[in-house]
């Protein structure tokens, strides 16, 4: 049966994550001089930490495969929700300068609202109108943050 050695899938994945980061940081740190314990170079402490993390990662990974480990499967992933939320943030960053705050916020609110199961166009549009007005009042006029408000073409 597939995965029968790995009793605790969750812990196994966590251990692998630790190991991956440890290898990445250790290999990158090889480019920096380590120096000696008395005169440490920039590479000394990162290597030390990476080794500690690798040991922890090994213990966690191997612990997930022992015969006494709890049986735990990975939880179901909601890639759609994650994609709507992350995507809306990326779009906000990309559109803030070309479209200005009003346009970027509109896209952010509409796209992120799609992540909800209870999405309705009218609800999201109304929410966008209220939130954009609130942000303009608080951040632009109230706190005076330096934000491009309107599309750059209009300026």
């Amino acid at each position: 049966m597939k995965g029968s050695v790995i009793r605790n899938q969750r812990a196994f994945a966590a251990g692998v994550l630790f190991l991956a980061f440890a290898v990445f940081f250790f290999v990158t740190a090889l480019n920096y001089p380590a120096g000696t314990a008395a005169r440490m170079g920039p590479g000394y402490f990162p290597r030390l930490l990476a080794i500690v993390l690798a040991v922890i990662g090994l213990v966690v990974t191997l612990g997930a495969m022992t015969s006494t480990a709890d049986r735990q499967v990975l939880r179901r992933w909601d890639f759609k929700g994650l994609a709507w939320i992350t995507g809306s943030v990326v779009l906000f960053g990309a559109l803030l300068f070309p479209l200005g705050l009003v346009g970027a916020l509109f896209v952010l609110i509409m796209v992120s609202s799609r992540a909800s199961h209870e999405f309705t166009w009218i609800g999201a549009l109304a929410n966008a109108a209220v939130l954009i007005a609130l942000c303009l009042a608080v951040f632009v006029y109230g706190l005076g943050l330096q934000l491009p408000v309107w599309p750059s073409l209009l300026n």
Partner: protein, 499 residues
């Protein structure tokens, strides 16, 4: 008396109209986010950090502190009226608080929570003021190796007290420390893990990281589970506890306050741990343990006092030793750094008005919260009728603008998006994010003190174990690790952290 003299300086600072206004604003905001489930003080403080840049440092810290302890008040309202923890520290309040509400005693439960919180807040403020002097004096004796040992102890305790397997908590601490190495090495001036990206030369900013993990990824998690709110619809009348209620709640309040004050000081402690511990204690001591879970007033009075006391005393290690004991305190380090204040023993001597002003503002803030919460409780309950589908885009908006305004650049926005994905991976793997953030904040100081200690000892690592102070701190850390390995203690800890 020095203490009174210092408190007088503090109250003079806290009573300045501008500071009163920011304290009020912080308490109001804290109550608001405390009431709303799914939005915690962590994301809120992270959101507001960049905006505090424009404020004077004392006003900024007074406001941010108000958000943290204000959230403890607000959280109880949701717990009692809706049976949902508005804040993770009011999880236990849902047990008996909601039962009281179902019996038509919502008003009494709310008043108990508010009175308990206020009393605990006053005591914790005094404890903070009294302990600050001696602890700061101790910290001034510390050299690099002692600071190194102290921070290791703090991080280990924080992982011991976080949920999930201990070794995974430690792994997250080390990963956080590795992430903190990104940027310029202060000793040699060379770039580490920056890969030629100029925005990374100053290091990974922890605001986008905190926002991605605790703001955005948390929203994805919340959207996966659709909870239906079950509001207690009856009108909230009769706020006043009866004489019998008072007789039962006062001892619980006293015990909760004492417990919270103690546990708040502990690294990894703070509001959440205090409230759980207090509930367990009250249930053990009660002559009517069978009433717990059925509306026992002690089950509200104890934990609600404890969480507020713990929230406030968790400032002690930060302000005196420079070691943040939980993630909210780690964000306070960031807030102080923005204003070029380095948390630690020097805060008290270099910025006495800020130090004592912050402490005094906590007492003032508690008074404001009492007024904000009791008469206005109906208003807060109304807030709960806002559906989450309107609420979370608002969180998205405030977080995004907050992240952008750190440097007025979009790089941080993308950084937050990346950490949103990373945070979601952590949620799915059930890895605790709090130790990661603590490691990230303490990492540079740990490396610095470690390197200095090694220079002083000419590379002899045994010096950490031969100096009595650092040896005893490291021994305490080792004992904590050994204890957690013992099967009976491990079982009890898991029980306490789950409940």
């Amino acid at each position: 008396m020095d203490l009174f003299h210092n408190l007088a300086i503090g109250f003079a600072t806290a009573a300045q109209p501008a500071n009163l206004l920011y304290a009020f604003f912080g308490c109001l905001l804290g109550t608001l986010i405390g009431v709303l489930p799914g939005l915690g003080p962590l994301a809120t403080i992270a959101m507001l950090l960049p905006i505090t840049y424009a404020l004077p440092p004392d006003a900024a810290l007074i406001m941010l502190a108000g958000i943290y302890y204000g959230a403890q008040y607000g959280g109880s309202t949701t717990a009692i009226v809706v049976n949902l923890p508005g804040e993770s520290s009011s999880v236990v309040t849902t047990i008996d608080g909601y039962q009281m509400a179902k019996q038509g005693r919502a008003g009494v439960a709310l008043a108990t929570a508010a009175i308990g919180s206020f009393f605990a807040g006053c005591v914790a403020t005094l404890a903070l003021a009294a302990l600050a002097g001696p602890l700061t004096a101790t910290a001034l004796l510390f050299g690099p190796k002692e600071f190194f040992a102290l921070m290791i102890l703090g991080l280990i305790l924080a992982s011991v007290l976080s949920s999930g397997p201990f070794i995974e908590g430690i792994g997250m601490v080390v990963l956080g420390m590795l992430l903190s190495l990104v940027g310029t090495d202060l000793n040699s001036g060379s770039q580490r893990f920056a890969f030629g990206v100029p925005q990374l030369f100053d290091g990974l900013d922890f605001v986008p990281l905190a926002m991605g993990i605790f703001g955005f990824a948390e929203i994805v998690r919340n959207l996966e589970q659709d909870d239906k709110l079950s509001l207690v619809t009856q009108k909230i009348t009769n706020l006043f506890p009866t004489r019998d209620d008072f007789r039962r709640m006062v001892p619980a309040m006293l015990r909760g306050t004492a417990l919270g004050t103690l546990l708040g000081v502990l690294p990894g402690g703070g509001a959440v741990l205090s409230s759980f511990a207090s509930y367990t204690l009250e249930k053990k001591l009660s002559r009517h343990p069978e009433q717990f879970g059925k509306g026992a007033i002690e089950g509200v009075a104890g934990p609600e006092s404890a969480n507020n006391a713990g929230a406030q005393t968790s400032f002690i290690p930060l302000l005196t030793l420079g070691v943040p004991s939980n993630v909210v305190m780690a964000l306070m380090v960031g807030a102080m750094n923005i204003h070029n204040i380095h948390p630690g023993p020097e805060v008290m001597t270099k910025n006495p008005t800020l130090f004592w002003g912050l402490i005094a503002s906590m007492w003032v803030g508690n008074l404001m919260l009492l007024i904000l919460n009791l008469p206005l409780v109906g208003l807060w309950v109304k807030l709960l009728t806002i559906p989450y589908r309107y609420l979370f885009p608002a969180i998205m908006v405030f977080c995004s603008i907050g992240v952008y305004s750190i440097n007025s650049g979009t790089f941080e926005v993308y950084e937050a998006a990346i950490f949103c994905v990373f945070g979601y991976v952590l949620i799915k793997l059930q890895l605790p994010a709090a130790p990661l953030l603590l490691g990230l904040v303490l990492g540079p100081a740990i490396e610095e003190n470690f390197r200095r200690a090694m220079v002083l000892s000419r590379g002899d690592a045994t010096v950490l174990l031969t100096s009595p102070l650092s040896a005893s701190l490291l021994a305490a850390a080792a004992i904590a690790i050994l204890l957690i390995m013992l099967p009976t203690i491990r079982a009890r800890r898991e029980q306490a952290l789950q409940e």
